[in-house]
């Protein structure tokens, strides 16, 4: 005798705390997904944190009706590093290497935001030569960041060779960083009051090589993607966000400019003598994946233009402020002056004090407005350092952008808003 088959009894809810492992209670989930998910009409799909197209360790909970995304719940924090807490235990100059590791694709932009904020608190005037060198390196950093974006974005959509081309050009830029700072990625080259040292011999040749080769290479990328029908099929009209929504969600950078808002920190609040250079800010109109892609591609040209001008007009002079409160004594002085040696020792152990106050300083990194907010307590260590990460706010708009899209377009949208989880989670 076969056992009597039992009838399938539909449970009250297909979602229980044990099968939704999102660090979330069922009560909270009810606010985020539609009621249809509880009856099993729509499907909840987990994406990440280990997924090749989430650009790091982003986790998404997608509610799908067939192939259409109804709601998207990002779950971040898988790379939460506690950088802001660690800053509280470091002196101001020892904090610079930590900033490299927030947005690790554009370390020099982060350095700039941090040292710029400390300089603002100290009311320091930076020598012009240091400012120009900073501009050159910041623009190279932007190109570096955009190259990794293009490589991974194209790889996600299925263009493998662009990845290899972009990484090839990226090595050229990393060679420049390696020459000036000794490290490929984590340079910590900008110091409070100027630069670590003057640019070494051979710098001009290497930058000139980038300037000579890059325009041809850009043509190659354009040939591969710009009018490629497959590329356009995957990008045009996908992931649209309106101007008003983009502003309301705090989006900045190319992701905002793709929607037609002309906002660039370099133009709006010029720092580092960016107002000495001529460049334009590329602005899109439709706010889709393709326009964001076009904005970034045009920025390559503008960056090259800025570097060319800065190299041509690079002034002579010191690269560090003449203020011994923050600038270490030069090496040759330490050799014969006891006071200089003691002062150097004091600067690297105790550090310099910053007067009590607070300041916010923003730069335009490759992703958008990278800001640094420091609350100083008058001592050598900050009370609070907070980074305004552009990816954090850009990613916040992802549920809004992706609503109603197909699931296959999700990777295109994630790629187009160019997130780096290191700065989202900090």
């Amino acid at each position: 005798m076969a056992a009597q088959p039992t009838l399938y009894e539909a449970p009250e809810s297909v979602l229980t705390e044990s099968n939704v492992q999102l660090d979330i209670t069922i009560e909270q989930l009810k606010k985020l997904v539609s009621p249809r998910a509880f009856t099993g009409e729509t499907m909840l799909l987990n994406m990440g944190p280990q997924h090749p197209s989430t650009h790091g360790v982003l986790r998404l909970l997608l509610e799908l009706d067939g192939e259409t995304i109804i709601s998207c719940i990002p779950d971040i924090g898988f790379l939460h590093t506690g950088i802001e807490k660690t800053h509280e235990g470091k002196t101001y100059s020892k904090g610079i290497p930590l900033t490299d590791r927030t947005d690790y694709l554009a370390p020099l932009s982060n350095n700039m935001a941090y040292v710029g904020c400390v300089e603002k608190l100290l009311d320091l005037e930076i020598p012009l030569r240091a400012q120009y060198i900073r501009v050159i390196l910041l623009e190279l950093t932007r190109m570096n960041s955009h190259l990794v974006w293009l490589a991974t974005h194209a790889l996600d959509i299925g263009a493998m060779s662009v990845f290899l081309y972009c990484m090839r050009e990226r090595e050229m830029i990393l060679d420049v960083f390696e020459l000036v700072a000794g490290a490929r990625m984590m340079t910590s080259y900008f110091r409070v009051g100027g630069l670590w040292r003057d640019i070494p011999a051979g710098f001009a040749e290497l930058v000139q090589k980038v300037l000579d080769i890059f325009p041809q290479r850009l043509m190659e990328y354009e040939k591969l993607l710009k009018d490629n029908p497959m590329w356009k099929e995957r990008t045009v009209g996908i992931g649209v966000i309106s101007k008003e929504d983009a502003i309301a969600y705090g989006m900045t950078g190319p992701s905002l400019r793709g929607s037609g808002v002309n906002y660039d920190v370099r133009k709006a609040y010029p720092y580092n003598s960016y107002d000495h250079f001529e460049f334009s800010v590329p602005v899109g109109s439709n706010g889709d994946v393709y326009d964001r892609y076009r904005c970034r591609m045009e920025e390559f040209h503008q960056s090259l233009k800025i570097i060319e001008q800065a190299m041509k007009r690079l002034p002579a002079g010191p690269v560090m402020v003449d203020n011994r409160k923050v600038a270490p004594p030069p090496k040759h002085e330490i050799a014969y002056s006891m006071e200089s040696l003691i002062h150097h020792f004091k600067l690297w152990t105790e550090g310099f004090s910053v007067p009590e106050g607070e300041a916010y300083f923003a730069v335009e990194s490759g992703k958008g407005e990278f800001g640094c907010y420091i609350s100083a307590n008058g001592g050598p260590k900050p009370r609070r350092v907070h980074f305004r990460a552009p990816s954090f706010y850009n990613l916040q708009a992802l549920p809004k952008i992706s609503r109603g899209c197909l699931i296959a377009d999700m990777v295109a949208i994630i790629g187009s808003i160019d997130i780096v989880l290191g700065e989202v989670d900090r």
Binding site: V57, G77, F78, H80, G82, F163, Y165, L174
Partner: protein, 160 residues
């Protein structure tokens, strides 16, 4: 061992099964396509144009842990990521190896704070530690070659 001498140049090499398997395993490692932080970018560089990891039989990155033999922990592991990392490790079929790439994965690095696991060896057993913050691609390749040497000497008994 006298066989080769007797047969001369007949193209026959004798070896122990252990060595043959070790040799085969060490030259066809499939790493998992899994990056965490800054080191993942250097891992990408290692695979890409200039450094070209496929020279060492490692070009095939698999996105699924079920198909990979080597987990390169590239970057800092947060307390939230730690259970995920262990799950991924448990999903990998044996034999499997782990490289802790960079200072953060090896010992917590500069981030001695509440959020970061102080060394990934608290979660998964590590075979090779690669120093650097982040390690240069050459350093990672050196670490991989070290691992290949280690695999070649592994006794067969260990994996049944």
């Amino acid at each position: 061992m006298g066989l080769e001498q007797k047969l001369g140049d007949m193209g026959v090499v004798t070896t122990s099964l252990e060595k043959a398997i070790g040799w085969a395993r060490s030259n066809a490692i499939w790493p998992m396509l899994f990056g965490l932080a800054c080191c993942a970018i250097e891992m990408m560089s290692t695979q890409a144009s200039r450094y070209d990891l496929s020279r060492f039989g490692m070009e095939l990155m698999r996105a699924s842990p079920r198909q990979s033999d080597l987990m390169i922990v590239a970057g800092r592991v947060s307390r939230k990521m730690a259970p995920v990392l262990r799950t991924l490790y448990d999903q990998m079929p044996e034999p499997k190896w782990v490289i802790a790439m960079g200072d953060c994965a090896s010992c917590g690095g500069v981030f001695n704070n509440y959020a970061i696991v102080q060394g990934v060896d608290e979660i998964v057993p590590v075979d090779v530690y690669v120093a650097g913050c982040p390690p240069r691609p050459e350093t990672l390749i050196e670490g991989i070659l070290k691992l290949q040497d280690k695999i070649k000497q592994e006794p067969l008994k260990k994996w049944q």
